[in-house]
């Protein structure tokens, strides 16, 4: 039968970021999907040869603006460990606060975009409206809405005042209430279910073999979350990874929806247990040696490899981002889905191309 061959991207209204898929369709069913990348590739890992290891904080933060803070945190944690810095506990708690705030805004942003992928505009609008509260918290506490620049090697740059803490608490209460108001729509709406259930299924085995990470992995039944490693202050907080078993788009939606509430809880825990003390320590010396560090981004496990040779320029910086790991699973999910479901499936891994390509 005659097949349709279609360029999907780089410029395409449902794609928030440029990526290209050459799709082959039969009666609007995907037969094959071949990706083309490189539209966002900057080569920023290579910049470590011309920017010193302090300046690189700002650069890795801009690997991706959505969970920027977590990149910087992972990078700083690597160098802190490598250079033997003893980060103050308060700083560790503050890192948890901001990184979980990032997860909340990132997941809300995603639920909105995901809703838009299946044409549910009002849900998109509601999610983004709620998310603005988190953006306000960011702006008020860090000085910027998106790229917050709060990490330094040895701690954080800004502290949270008491008033901030209470205000954040109030805002989170509202966020929680508003998110819960969307719960029935997100988890039980007939049209949402019929657009997501059974679509883009990744079995438990596939998920593992193809190297999926984050909510994609957890939606396929694996209780694996880098936060279980207990970095920053996670070892002192109550945390249980969110797991679903169906491995379809609906399961991924459910995982992220539950994680929003979980993160609200984590921020609350961190704020109530926030220890007094310094927010950073000075770090002396130059990085030397090799290190691999992992943290959990909203999109999954992030991994930094850093090699220093005792100069202020790193020898090698490699960032394995979560979407990079989730693209092979995505390619496995696509054949057999309807064209209308392509954006749904693509968005279900919460792709971040700017981090994939760096």
């Amino acid at each position: 039968m005659a097949r349709t061959i279609l360029p999907f991207g780089p410029q395409h209204p449902v794609l928030p970021e440029p990526i290209h898929l050459t799709l082959e369709l039969e009666d609007e069913i995907v037969v094959s999907a071949v990706p083309a990348l490189g539209y966002v590739h900057r080569g920023l890992e290579k910049l470590c040869e011309v920017r010193d290891f302090h300046q690189m904080i700002q650069i890795v933060e801009r690997v991706c603006g959505i969970c920027s803070k977590i990149h910087a945190m992972c990078y700083c944690q690597s160098l802190e460990e490598m250079m033997g810095a003893d980060v103050p506990r308060r700083a560790k708690y503050l890192r948890v606060v901001w990184s979980e705030l990032h997860r909340i805004h990132s997941h809300l942003l995603w639920i909105g975009l995901f809703a838009d992928a299946f044409g549910f505009e009002s849900l998109f609008m509601q999610c983004w409206r709620i998310r603005e509260r988190i953006m306000d918290i960011n702006e008020a506490t860090t000085g910027n809405r998106v790229v917050v620049s709060v990490n330094v090697i040895g701690g954080v740059r800004r502290d949270l005042s008491r008033e901030h803490q209470t205000w954040i608490g109030e805002q989170l209460k509202l966020v929680e209430k508003e998110v819960l108001a969307l719960k029935s729509t997100i988890v039980s709406d007939y049209t949402v279910k019929s657009r997501t259930q059974g679509v883009g299924v990744l079995t438990k085995d596939q998920a593992h073999q193809l190297g999926a990470v984050g909510p994609v992995l957890r939606a396929s039944g694996w209780a694996q979350d880098a936060r279980m490693l207990g970095y920053a202050a996670f070892d002192e907080l109550d945390f249980e990874p969110v797991v679903e078993v169906d491995g379809d788009c609906y399961a991924r939606l459910a995982v992220r929806f539950r994680e929003v509430l979980q993160s609200v809880d984590l921020v609350r825990q961190a704020l109530t247990r926030l220890p007094e003390g310094e927010i950073s320590v000075p770090v002396k010396g130059k990085p030397n040696g090799e290190i691999i560090t992992r943290v959990e981004q909203p999109r999954g496990e992030l991994m930094y490899y850093i090699k220093g040779d005792d100069t202020k320029f790193l020898d090698r910086l490699r960032i394995r981002t979560p979407t990079f790991a989730n693209i092979p699973p995505l390619l496995a999910m696509l054949p057999g889905v309807e064209l209308a479901d392509v954006p749904v499936v693509v968005l279900s891994i919460d792709p971040c191309i700017s981090c994939t390509e760096r």
Binding site: F8, P13, D116, D189, A340
Partner: protein, 284 residues
Amino acid sequence: MTSKFLLALALTIAAPFIGGLVTGIDRKITARLQSRYGPPIAQPFYDVLKLLGKDRMVVNMWQALCPVVTLTASALCVFLFGMQADLLLIFFVLTVGGVFLIMGAMAAPSPYSQIGAQRELMQMLAYEPLLILVFVSFSMVTGSFKIADVYAYGRPLLPQLPLMFIVLGYALTIKLRKSPFDIAACHHAHQEIVRGVLTEYSGPNLALIEIAHWFDVALILGLCSLFWSTSALGAATLLAGAYFLELVIDNVTARMTWRFMLQNALGVGLALSVLNIVWQSFNN
């Protein structure tokens, strides 16, 4: 006869303004349902005026030809409605517009407009039988396909054909491109097929299609109003209620796929029609 003609002419001239205004109100209310402030009510008119002033860009000449025919057909439909003509005839003329819209979209060797065109065909496949069913139900009650006879019937049709009103609602949702059936091209543009059937139309050509859409909106509202043909107030209430419901549905559902639309619209539409027709013949 002449007075009827003049009335029809006046209706034809007023229709795009009515359609545009309804679209404007639609956008405003949609925005409010999403807790947004929304555009001015006159926004659709600004849009079309702007489009008319854009440079003409076409993939080939058919793209310039087809919108004009589409517009002619849509305007003609409203005119025929004004003349209280044959419903089936109006239906067939409506098809002319749809067919030319699709032909123009297919005239571009562009995958998105082609897929959009195919889906538009699926939409026609879904709403055309429903419209015909509604017309048939009218004819069963009034004894003819003429709109004039609906008015002459002297009683509102809604109490006798309540389910058919729902069937018309299905057709309305599809024709107005509202969720869950905004499948061939949605109003804004976050769809996997870009703007579907409209992708390759631009500038003045797109403006013509938009105006044709206004005519269609006016026509479809006119058809709805036939369910309460005995009083202007009744018709207006019915229309406002139906349209508002349409907006709410648009905002509380996801977009479905065309396969779902075919099954659902045809399946439910046929079932409701059969029910109503059987019930109706019992009553008589």
